[in-house]
């Protein structure tokens, strides 16, 4: 898809430039109450093995029955990725042995996934947008969890996650840098959060990625790739790609050859290392699961789901640009999550949208980030911020005073208009009062007056003094006009 080599994406090696090629398999936990093939809860945490049915523990004779909502969630996600929905898909067994996989196989989809090719538009920076091809999305079971820290010789196995539905979203090898990969995963997460199909909570493992990395000389055929397994944060995805690309370039430049293998990223050492134990596991001997019939979907079922989809981030962004005349980047920041977009819309409704966007992005988001808070827990509500903007727009307070009001509302709460009244923060637009202050300054600084008349840039000093004398409440425009008139400049 990205056929042109962008010079800015190339990495300098000792012997020249290299291009990094990245493809990703993102495992996203489906938002559902019960598991993919059993009635046990998907809730995070819980006592060991409490969210486990006899099916999840692979007791003999138990049969899987598919959860209709997990199917609907996969279809919704496919629609959100502008992808082909396959009316027939098949569940296969992927065979391997591991203590947290009691069945001895994972039920997955191999040859016939539920969702086929699609596309995601990703903003990499304010000025750069890329298109990333989606190869497929399929449904599969999660495995259980092994705990290794409790003892030197034993591992503890908890099957609470065993059988929880995952969507594996496979991208085409369209990514060309760590930045692009990070932006792609963020975008996938945004789309799925809008859709309500995956909560995207990386700390709880709801979103993990296997990252395929290879390098080549620009224009050459694809190099041998290595797969970095189970990277569980967006930051680590970027670091893993950079570390792995550096490793591969180093080997090739020293005359070596890359061996295709599975690797693990070690965040504390900032490097990847081989997972030799996984090498033979690549022979999964897939075959159709005889316990499950093929999954058939009706076109009308898909259309019903499509009709109920919420407005997606790309559409919302386009609407914000069109309806509120926002710069594309600002619109992109606002739609990054649904709550922020809703917050902005309730602030902007019937008001100066650009002013509203500036306040939401710079003051509110800036402050929330600093305090490590999210929009959901913002101490300043949309109504309060809207009131502050109204006070600016009707000339009651200046933008500078508004920041003070914002601070008070943030830490103490309250109605901004009442606060401005009770604390005497109203802007002085009464020219008489401003004039008196200015006259006073002019009278006591004859030398500065003389200077100003020679050098009009001195005006700034007088404006500063006047603002100081009025406690910052004077209308800056009125001050300017009056000063110019009185100083004759």
């Amino acid at each position: 898809m990205n056929t042109h080599v962008k010079p800015s994406k190339l990495v300098k090696g000792a012997t020249g430039d290299w291009e990094i090629i990245v493809g990703m398999e993102v495992h996203a936990q489906v938002t559902s109450r019960a598991k993919l093939f059993s009635g046990a809860s998907t809730e995070f945490g819980g006592e060991p093995n409490s969210h486990v049915s006899l099916i999840d523990a692979a007791m003999p004779g138990m049969l899987p029955v598919i959860n209709a909502e997990c199917v609907a969630q996969a279809v919704r996600t496919g629609l959100g990725l502008k992808a082909q929905i396959n009316l027939t898909s098949v569940f296969d067994r992927k065979n391997y042995f591991y203590p947290d996989l009691p069945q001895g196989y994972q039920i997955s989809q191999y040859k016939s996934p539920i969702v086929g090719e699609g596309e995601v538009i990703v903003d990499v920076s304010p000025t750069e947008q890329i298109r990333v091809g989606i190869e497929r999305l399929h449904l599969e079971q999660d495995a259980g969890k092994s705990l290794h820290d409790q003892s030197a010789t034993e591992s503890l196995v908890d099957l609470n996650r065993s059988g929880v539905a995952l969507m594996e979203i496979v991208s085409k090898p369209d990514l060309r840098s760590a930045d692009e990969a990070r932006a792609y995963v963020s975008k996938l997460r945004t789309i799925m959060r809008y859709l309500g199909t995956c909560d995207g909570n990386m700390e709880q493992g709801s979103l993990r990625a296997d990252v395929n990395v290879s390098v080549r000389r620009p224009g050459d055929p694809l190099g041998t790739r290595c797969e970095i397994k189970n990277v569980n944060s967006i930051r680590f995805i970027g670091q893993a790609i950079e570390a792995e690309a550096r490793r591969q370039i180093g080997i090739i430049e020293d005359g070596g050859v890359i061996e295709q293998e599975t690797r693990l990223f070690d965040p504390t050492r900032g490097e990847t290392r081989s997972m030799r134990s996984k090498e033979e596991a690549h022979d999964y001997r897939y075959f159709p699961d005889p316990d499950l019939l093929p999954l058939h979907l009706d076109q009308s079922y898909i259309e019903t789901l499509a009709a109920d989809l919420p407005e997606l981030p790309d559409e919302k962004r386009a609407r914000f640009i069109k309806d509120y005349a926002l710069p594309p980047y600002d619109a992109g920041v606002l739609v990054a999550d649904r709550e922020s977009a809703d917050f902005f819309e309730s602030v902007a409704k019937g008001r100066d949208a650009k002013l509203a966007a500036n306040w939401v992005i710079n003051e509110l988001f800036g402050r929330l980030n600093k305090e490590g808070q999210g929009i959901a827990t913002s101490p300043v509500s949309a109504e309060q911020l809207a009131a502050i903007i109204d006070l600016i727009s009707d000339g009651t307070i200046s933008g500078k005073i508004a920041k003070d009001v914002f601070e008070i509302v943030w830490s103490e709460g309250g109605d901004p208009r009442a606060l401005v009244e009770s604390r005497g923060m109203k802007q002085v637009t009464d020219t008489g009062a401003i004039e008196a202050a200015i006259d006073q300054i002019i009278a006591s600084n004859p030398d500065k007056v003389a200077q100003a008349q020679q050098k009009p840039t001195m005006l700034g000093w007088f404006v500063g003094q006047a603002m100081k004398a009025t406690g910052g409440k004077a209308n800056p425009q009125a001050v300017n006009t009056l000063l110019k008139a009185k100083l004759g400049i």
Binding site: G39, S41, L54, A68, Y98, S151, L156
Partner: protein
């Protein structure tokens, strides 16, 4: 298509089936007999024929998204050779 003794050993290992050296030759000929039969099937022209997954036209049975199971940790670990606080205990497996 046929398998050699190395493939027989590899498949046995992947399936975690213990196969002794003197069983390999016998298994090899059994597997090759099965593969020869599949080879014979391959001669049939199935162009345009949908794979049959069921004799009766049946739909995949589906379930509503309700929590109807679980909370039986005692039973889940009841047969485990080793357990601790409702965890299964297995020999150390670590990457």
């Amino acid at each position: 298509m046929s398998v050699d003794t190395t493939t027989v050993r590899r498949i046995a290992h992947l399936s975690r089936i213990a196969v002794t050296d003197d069983e390999v030759a016998h298994l090899q000929s059994e597997l090759n007999a099965i593969l020869a039969f599949v080879e014979q099937l391959r001669g049939v022209d199935v162009e345009g024929v949908e794979p049959m997954t069921s004799v009766m036209p049946m739909q995949l049975k589906k379930r509503a998204d309700q929590v109807t199971d679980g909370f039986i940790a005692d039973e889940i670990v009841a047969n485990a050779p080793r357990r601790e606080d409702h965890f299964f205990v297995v020999p150390k497996v670590v990457e």
